[in-house]
Symmetry: C2
């Protein structure tokens, strides 16, 4: 019997089977997320990628004992409901866990994607060997996961660790979440790109030093422009990096972690990001928590979420294993049940 894991994202659906020996992820399958049929279409797609993973490791669906799914958006693990993730248009309060159970007939655990990535980095990546870690992923949005004495900080609704929705500028820009001056509204990849677009819009004389199509520039383009000396790109990226530094300082003061791990696409920006964070932390953080912590880049890349699910499958997180064994006993158990095979 095995555990299947899924990393559901706005761009890709990935799946794999957890191996307890050797390579932890076997039968890896990746497809571009098909948003055409809304949440029901994506849920059917999860079934298809899982079937491929199971087949490719040479076992049958009846060998799958349970399923762990990393999902975008705030999610309440107890109810299995996913609340309007920003990268999944049309997803509003989707009862993902019960829908997956209807389709697959295996007990399923949901985990917020940033929390899953935090667990992955904690057990297998930049945080391994520590006890207290803050993980910040700077991507389309900004997510987070906090590990306190080896346990994922979850809270009664499972929504703790929303580091991207911490106000760092109380009179700052409106955030999509409804709050004001959130770190995400200032420093996410989306915010960096749109601030760049706004800065160069209508500026006829703007000749980017890098070969950037300014009207379609992504955050990665802004980073390239910043290194190439393009002035709007440089000042906008530095401001975002300073904001991330302020977020790190807040995390040092609130959580007193051993390590702060920065992941997500924007974490590939190199020294312009990490030198700026170091400067802000050096200037602003209180000495004791500053000296206790290091700030470093995530190491698992796109695998962080799946590896977090592996950690949960291996029982590395007591709260997760409670969840696994705490599935409603009235629900039929999937393994050994031929009807449970996804079509």
């Amino acid at each position: 019997v095995s555990t299947a894991v899924v990393d559901l994202g706005g761009t890709y659906v990935r799946s794999a089977i957890v191996s307890r020996e050797g390579e932890p992820l076997r039968g890896r399958v990746q497809q571009r997320t098909d948003h055409a049929q809304g949440s029901d279409g994506v849920i059917a797609q999860i079934g298809r990628v899982l079937r491929e993973s199971v087949a490719s490791v040479g076992c049958g669906w009846e060998d799958i004992e349970n399923l762990i799914v990393s999902t975008p958006g705030p999610v309440t693990p107890q109810t299995g409901i996913v609340f309007s993730p920003p990268n999944m248009l049309g997803w509003n309060d989707v009862p993902l866990r019960s829908k997956l159970f209807e389709l697959l007939h295996v007990p399923t655990v949901l985990v917020n994607d940033a929390n899953a990535a935090a667990l992955g980095e904690f057990y297998f990546g930049a945080g391994s060997g520590t006890r207290n870690m803050v993980y910040i992923t700077v991507s389309t949005g900004i997510g987070g996961g906090v590990i306190v004495e080896g346990q994922l900080l979850s809270g009664p609704s499972g929504t703790a660790g929303e580091i991207g929705h911490m106000t760092i500028d109380r009179t700052g820009p409106q955030c999509k979440c409804g709050n004001v001056g959130c770190l995400e509204a200032i420093a996410s990849g989306t915010a960096i790109a749109s601030r760049f677009h706004a800065a160069v819009a209508g500026v006829e004389s703007h000749e980017p030093a890098a070969s950037v199509d300014t009207s379609r520039a992504t955050a990665a383009d802004v980073v390239r422009g910043a290194y190439a000396g393009d002035e709007p790109a440089r000042s906008i990226f530095l401001d975002a990096a300073e904001a991330i530094g302020v977020g790190v300082v807040n995390c040092l003061h609130l959580f007193n972690p051993d390590v702060v791990v920065i992941g997500g696409g924007v974490s590939n920006a190199g020294p312009i990001l990490f030198d700026t964070i170091d400067r802000i932390v050096g200037a602003r953080a209180m000495p004791v928590p500053r000296q206790a912590a290091i700030v470093m880049k995530a190491v698992l890349g796109d695998d962080a979420g799946l590896m977090g699910a592996v950690a949960m499958a291996l029982g590395r997180t007591p709260s997760a294993s409670t969840e696994l064994s705490g599935v409603d006993p009235k629900e039929p158990v999937g393994h050994g049940c031929a009807d449970a095979r996804p079509e």
Copy 2:
């Protein structure tokens, strides 16, 4: 054998003996903190108030098995060093635990005062019956303590939960701690009073609606002025209350607590404070963590810190009881040792 508890503050030194039955605090003694001789003088004073407490319950110093001290300022429980608490002038890296041991010869545990108050409210006050609590004390400064699944969030240096030193306005006022735009720099009692002084300084026409001596107004005077319709007092207090609301929203998003408890002198401000917090939380917080939490006033008043020490003495906090039994075995144990009596 008994545990003695001390609440060391910038204004008062309080002590008591923990009773395991009936009234939890017996032999209560309170003196104004005597700062004249610096930290050594205050430490000697702690010895005197403790001797009074012990005598008043009819036992001898040899009956005191251990001591728990709530102290201002960041403190590392492991080393027992107190770092420059803002209300204790001249205290810089005072090795309070070892100095108390030299004087009193009993194993001593130090706890940050806001953390102690958080434990008190969690076990005996506004947080009792919950699992996850954020405590914010708004007084001379702003302190905090966070309880996660029944455990005090501490961190490797013991400095977690510094909610007052969370930046909520990254271009805001400089804080004494070195950081910028901290909640404390905007909304502490000290900040409220000094912002009021600055607002009315040189304003000849300012006729306060309340009978406030504007040049010496305290935060409590500003609150009175705000209720009486004094315009500068009202706008400054409302701004501070909104900032506290922003801090509460951040705590909801980061910790997803069951309850947020507001203590400290400023928490006596009544509806002008709590209605403003509710308005900001209603407008800005994400629905799921908002619905999970209530925001309420602390209930233990000045006793919160001592009651937190009682919780530790009764072993309600596993980390604290580990600490109690984890005292260096090479150190002599105080109970039964006549030499240990403070002179």
